[in-house]
Amino acid sequence: MRRLLAIATFGFVFAATGIAPAHAADVKTSITVDQDTATVTGEPVELHVQVRDAAGHPVAGALVRLFVPVVFMGEQKNEIVGEGTTNTAGRAVIRFAPAQTGQLEGTLAFWGSHGYAASETTVSLDVQQAAYTYAPEPVGLQAWWARSYLILVPFVLTWMVFLLLLWLAVRVRRAGAAASAPTDIAATS
């Protein structure tokens, strides 16, 4: 009964967290990282990680993932932004390019496998604004001409033609007045 309860509990934890619980027989592991302490936005940063077991021996074939906190649709989540698998020396390189400035607190996690227990460590990066900024040519409605008042030019010209035509209409009236003037004089006399 106790055995069944234990299996159910572990099963529940596994299902709820998606992380396989460390088996009692699993060898404990640890992750170390030689990190760049500072980087700039848009530039890839390399995290050199090493996974060792409790005896200090390198763990090969361990998949290490880098999580960073992100806000998606108003909800705080941890997003996987990079991963790497350790070589025979237990080393892996994880690359990613931070997009936002500020202190970035990430987590490097190994979920455990092949008799090795899961382990994790934190990584902290000071992300600075890049010295240069990307200034891509805006497209579509962001184009400079679309923002400017140039769009008014054809309309202003058209309205000027309308005014010209109204002036022609006034001239038509004047010509009519001139033509009918003798008739008017005759009528009044």
């Binding site: 679309a146 010509a175 009519g176 001139a178």
Partner: protein
């Protein structure tokens, strides 16, 4: 001047003046105007209801914020193309047959554009928001471009209609038509027209300039209307061909609109002598060309989407061809395009009756097509959500009905005050014909034996 020409002139003037004379309408005319006024009044009530309660009383929602109002907006913008196409383009190309129908075409444009502007106001929900477009213009917004181009087109169309009316207003002034107010109106608007050479020269120049200017303005209207959609990153709208697609569509429905109006006025005012079967056939040919081009654009638009079948475009196409919007799409494709093209292409059906039937189908089909352009693309989810739904309420149906009634009412109002056929242009046409005959006749007589066809050309 020959007695025959005098008789023709007197008869033409009598025919043109008849509708604007007091008591010309009779009971049926008054009933028609009363009925239209009731529908418009009901629409105004529905609109005030919407203003008081908010757009929540319509079928519009956060997912589908454009519905019937935008459909009507594009439809009437398309109808307004008629004035430019018939009057300006045919004037510029010296198409002599245009003369009896230019006035109707110009009136259609003005009436349609008034409805276009009112539909924008209805769609905004709160009419006071219109001031923000003007007080705080956002230069990169196609909505602002729309306001500018439609305002310019409306002003230009009124001016164009007016310039071509001046000589006819003088005829009404001289004939003393109407009561005191109408006589004053005709006198003021006729610009002391006496037809002296100076006046003719100035007026012809003004109309010529206007004909040149109004064509690009009209094309800009339909292009800008299309860009409201085409410059949006949304499946079904994000297309580079929307500008010409809308311009051709406007020509298609605009010509159909004038054919229907022509048929009604020809029958009601007995204008068979001036608006002849030839006019229907010529306009039918233009409608056929526009229809074939529109069908081609439609095929091109959907074929490219259907070949790629991207997630959004593919879903939209499936919904249009076999899904929830298939009845609308196929109604447009079959009854709004295919059947009219066949009717207009077959020599046997190139009669007034069938051309008018084709025009009615085109108008119905093109309204549905505008619905198909607006609604499905808005209903298509941009993320993994359900399709949006749109069920127009009584408010939208009422305002839509009022829009059509207002179009008819404005038109009837214009026809009640101004002649629906351009008397001076028809007379000018006779003069052109006579001059051409005089030029050709001597040579025709001299070379009759050699070239008998010259006489046929004269006749």
């Amino acid at each position: 001047m020959s007695a025959t020409l005098n008789y023709r002139r007197a008869r033409l003037q009598e025919r043109a003046e008849a509708p604007v004379r007091p008591g010309a309408w009779g009971v049926r005319g008054k009933l028609l105007v009363g009925g239209l006024a009731v529908v418009v009044a009901w629409g105004i009530f529905a609109w005030t209801w919407q203003v008081r309660k908010g757009l929540g009383v319509t079928g519009l929602n956060d997912h589908l914020s454009w519905g019937f109002y935008l459909t009507n907006f594009i439809f009437f913008a398309g109808i307004s193309m008629a004035g430019t196409l018939i009057s300006a383009i045919l004037r510029l190309t010296h198409a002599e047959w245009r003369r009896p129908i230019t006035r109707l075409a110009e009136m259609i444009t003005v009436a349609a554009l008034i409805v276009v502007a009112s539909m924008v106001v209805a769609d905004m929900g709160r009419p006071d928001r219109l001031q923000f477009v003007l007080l705080h213009p956002h230069m990169r917004s196609p909505i602002l471009w729309d306001v500018l181009s439609i305002g310019t087109y409306l002003a230009g169309s009124i001016l164009y209609l007016y310039l071509a009316l001046v000589p006819d207003l003088a005829i009404l002034r001289d004939a003393g038509v109407g009561g005191k107010l109408r006589r004053r109106l005709y006198s003021a608007l006729s610009l002391r027209w006496h037809g002296v050479p100076d006046q003719r020269r100035l007026l012809v120049r003004a109309i010529g300039v206007m004909a040149v200017v109004i064509v690009p303005v009209a094309v800009s209207v339909h292009s800008v209307v299309s860009w409201i959609f085409g410059m949006t990153l949304r499946s079904g709208w994000n297309s580079t061909i929307f500008g010409p697609y809308f311009v051709v569509g406007a020509a298609f429905s605009g010509i159909a609109g004038i054919v229907v109006v022509m048929a009604i006025f020809r029958r009601v005012y007995h204008l068979e002598e001036y608006i002849t079967e030839k006019h229907f056939r010529y306009l039918g040919s233009l409608m056929l060309v526009a229809g074939v081009m529109y069908a081609y654009f439609t095929l091109s638009e959907y074929a490219t989407v259907g070949y790629k079948m991207e997630v959004g475009g593919g879903s939209l196409l499936s919904a249009l061809l076999v899904g929830r919007y298939a009845p609308y799409f196929w109604f447009f494709a079959i009854f709004g395009t295919l059947v009219p093209i066949v009717l207009l292409a077959l020599p046997r059906t190139r009669t007034v009756k069938w051309i008018v039937t084709a025009a009615v189908l085109v108008n119905l089909g093109m309204w549905v097509k505008r619905f198909v352009i607006v609604i499905p693309s808005m209903a298509l989810p941009m993320m993994q959500y359900e399709w949006g739904t749109y069920r127009p309420t009584w408010v939208e149906w009422s305002i839509t009905a009022a829009g059509f009634a207002a179009f008819a009412l404005v038109f009837v109002f214009l026809a009640r005050i101004f002649p629906v056929i351009s008397v001076w242009e028809i007379e000018e046409g006779w003069e052109v014909e006579t001059a051409a005959a005089r030029r050709l006749l001597p040579s025709a007589v001299a070379s009759r034996a050699a070239a008998p066809s010259v006489m046929e050309e004269v006749s």
